[in-house]
């Protein structure tokens, strides 16, 4: 028989639990975000055999902008990891620069999504049965990137205020995870709309 010590819930510091909780919840939120897009992709891929010609006849997809957006969100993923590296190693300057570049790239992606919706998708919602699907996926990608940018800005403000360092690294990890999820969402949409058609 081995004695087991009674350890109260507070044995692990509450602040440590809170930081871990934010990271865990962000991971779950990221899974949910990706799952929504995966749902769109699954139904499209399953049913595309029955869809009338897509994209609509006479519409040529503009691959240039879509690929640029893929590269943009991927580059931003690298930069947010650079920010994470800076926070973990205590390189405040590196982290702030990486945050700023990530945010700029995110804003560029949002503008790109809007441009894509407004002019470059090449057809209106009413023009094709899958018009609603295509527009909804692109618009939700825009929203996902927008939400991730807000999260990154809040985290950067903490870094500017010297409230973010290696001790509360889980918050940084949570921020990076949310961005990666937003980037993955667009990659899914790109694959569905542009690669498989």
């Amino acid at each position: 028989m081995t004695d087991v010590l009674a350890l109260p819930s507070g044995a692990t510091p509450a602040s440590e639990r809170e930081r871990r909780s934010v990271a865990t919840a962000s991971l779950f939120a990221s899974v949910a975000m990706v799952m929504a897009f995966a749902g769109f992709a699954a139904v499209y891929l399953t049913l595309r055999q029955e869809v009338r010609p897509f994209p609509p006849e006479g519409v040529e997809f503009d691959f240039y902008l879509a690929r640029t957006l893929v590269i943009t969100v991927f580059m931003a993923s690298l930069f947010i990891e650079w920010a994470a590296y800076g926070i973990r190693k205590g390189f405040q300057g590196h982290a702030l620069v990486a945050f700023a570049v990530t945010i700029l790239q995110g804003i560029a992606a949002i503008i790109g999504f809007w441009f894509l919706l407004d002019t470059k998708l090449g057809f209106a919602i009413a023009d094709h049965p899958y018009g609603a699907l295509a527009h909804t996926m692109v618009f939700l990608s825009l929203l996902a990137v927008g939400a991730a940018i807000v999260f990154i800005e809040l985290t950067m403000l903490k870094a500017i205020g010297h409230q973010l360092d290696a001790r509360n690294f889980p918050l940084m990890r949570a921020t990076a995870t949310v961005w990666h999820a937003a980037a993955t969402s667009w990659v899914i949409v790109y694959y569905v709309l542009y690669v498989t058609k």
Partner: protein, 526 residues
């Protein structure tokens, strides 16, 4: 491995804590998980009552004369009843029970993200109110969750009722997602240090698995709603009747959500009732790792079940008789065998909620027997199959209600400080099992080929379900003061707290060396 020579009595100090607990504060801004859980449960009870009463009304003779009837069609479940019971009521009841009870079982002093959970509760209330308004201000332009077709783009423009319904369902979906994230995060991060994952009770395990399944399936439902909204507002033809693909897409969207949802309202019952049986048996559950695995498998299977083929008019939320659906019986069978073995080897006693477990077993057996009958007799035609599946759906609802009301009865001392007498608990279980069988009867009869469908009996059954749900209210309203462990047989950590628990739950957590930390040496060895 264990722990103590005799049953520990750690609750003495807790009683004092409860006596000096702060006065009831503001429920609007509370972050206390017991209160948040009770708010969820209150909303879930109201929604379930409304849903079951609606079902009774639609099944009653002359229902076509009722105001606001726009989806009634014979023995078919109405959209309102499905929404009230399956989409809003039961998920809210389970989320409430998990939010209130699981932290106590984990030795936690609080939940992980109280503000997130509070946001979830109030978003749920806002969504429920909007959904109810959507059903009452008029006829939505074809949006019907119980229907095969979304009917949204059949040419009819959107109207106020549609807008309210879509907004309401979206908010309820977001609330469910946030609640599930909160529960899962609490389980993973707020356990007392000695409470490892393998030492969690069955209800905590099923709560974790159910929450994870909800996190995966609910976004798909929200995506479908977004698609519908865009289609309605911008002249899309995605859901138009002639667009076969669009209709199928809708079915996939709702099905991926609806199938898991159907199973997920039952999956937590396996965990909760396992804890009830543990208390009734007075000993740790036989083959506990298998029970834990079965509770998790039931929730995870819900995600796989959507891959079973369409049938029963390809309805998204009906329990169609397919192999994938039928395999759900395996985890149920494992858990039930463990219950029976534990009761035989233990010293069984009639505790509140224990008869709910027995009634759950009866309902499961009746459901399995009716599936067998359907297979032997054969169901002729898709309409008959749909009717039969509707009967089975009501049985699933009854099983879920037995599970959740059994949990509320069992843990009432921790929710409100009141102890439910065994007789009252037994009466509730009896009412629910009878109601479940009666309300399923019209569907079974129609499905098996009879021309006459006993809808009056079905209406009486739905009314009994409503009564059974209402019987939970007295045990939860008001605040009592009970012994920490009223039956003296509790083996899990929640029974080490006062009834009702203090704001911080635990002054100190008792020694934890197994999934049944309050068991004495002899009980643990048994």
């Amino acid at each position: 491995m264990t722990i103590t020579e005799t049953r520990p009595e750690p609750a003495a100090a807790q009683t004092a804590s409860a006596a000096t607990a702060p006065a009831p504060g503001n429920w609007l801004t509370t972050g206390d998980h017991k209160r948040l859980g009770l708010l969820y449960i209150a909303g879930g009870l109201v929604a379930t009552l409304v849903g079951t009463v609606l079902a009774a009304a639609y099944l009653a003779p002359g229902s076509a004369e009722l105001p606001y009837v726009w989806t009634a069609s014979g023995s078919r479940l109405t959209s309102g009843a499905i929404t009230g019971v399956l989409i809003i009521g039961l998920p809210a009841l389970w989320l409430g029970a998990m939010t209130a009870i699981i932290p106590l079982q984990l030795g936690a002093t609080r939940i992980a993200l109280p503000r997130l959970q509070s946001l979830s509760v109030w978003t749920f209330f806002a969504g429920s109110v909007l959904t109810a308004l959507g059903y009452t201000v008029g006829r939505p332009s074809g949006v019907s969750l119980g229907s095969i077709l979304p009917q949204a783009s059949t040419g009819s423009p959107t109207n106020t009722a549609t807008e309210l319904l879509l907004a309401g369902l979206a908010l309820v979906g977001v609330a469910t997602l946030l609640g599930a994230i909160g529960v899962a995060t609490t389980i993973l991060n707020q356990r007392a240090d000695a409470v490892t994952l393998s030492r969690m009770p069955a209800f905590a395990w099923s709560g974790l698995a159910t929450s994870l399944a909800l996190i995966i399936s609910t976004p798909v439902f929200l995506g479908g709603l977004a698609l519908l909204w865009v289609d309605l507002h911008y002249g899309g033809s995605f859901f138009a009747v002639d667009a076969v693909a669009g209709i199928r897409v809708w079915q996939h969207h709702l099905w991926i959500f609806g199938r898991p949802e159907l199973f997920l309202v039952v999956a937590p019952a396996l965990g909760a009732l396992s804890d009830v049986v543990t208390t009734a048996a007075g000993r740790p559950l036989l083959a506990f790792p298998a029970v834990r695995g079965a509770a998790v498998a039931a929730a995870l299977w819900s995600l796989i079940a959507w891959a079973t083929p369409f049938s029963a008019l390809e309805s998204p939320v009906l329990p169609t008789p397919t192999v994938g659906t039928a395999l759900f019986i395996l985890p149920v069978a494992i858990v039930v065998l463990a219950w029976l073995g534990s009761l035989v080897l233990g010293s069984p006693s009639a505790t509140p909620g224990s008869l709910h477990a027995a009634a759950f077993l009866v309902v499961a057996l009746v459901g399995a027997a009716m599936t067998l009958v359907a297979a032997l007799v054969g169901i002729d035609g898709s309409l008959a199959a749909e009717a039969f599946a509707n009967g089975q759906l009501w049985l699933v609802v009854a099983a879920a209600l037995l599970g959740v009301t059994g949990a509320l009865t069992h843990w009432a001392p921790k929710l409100s400080g009141k102890v439910v007498p065994f007789a009252a608990s037994a009466g509730q279980a009896l009412v629910l099992v009878l109601g479940g069988i009666l309300v399923a009867l019209p569907g079974w009869v129609s499905g098996l080929g009879s021309d006459s469908s006993p809808t009056v009996v079905g209406a009486a059954g739905a009314a009994l379900l409503a009564l059974g749900v209402a019987l939970s209210i007295p045990a939860l309203v008001g605040r009592g003061q009970a012994d920490p462990d009223p039956t003296g047989r509790g083996l899990t950590l929640e029974w080490a707290t006062a009834s009702p628990p203090a704001m911080h739950n635990f002054d100190s957590v008792p020694a934890v060396g197994s999934a049944h930390p309050l068991a004495s040496d002899s009980e643990e060895r048994a």
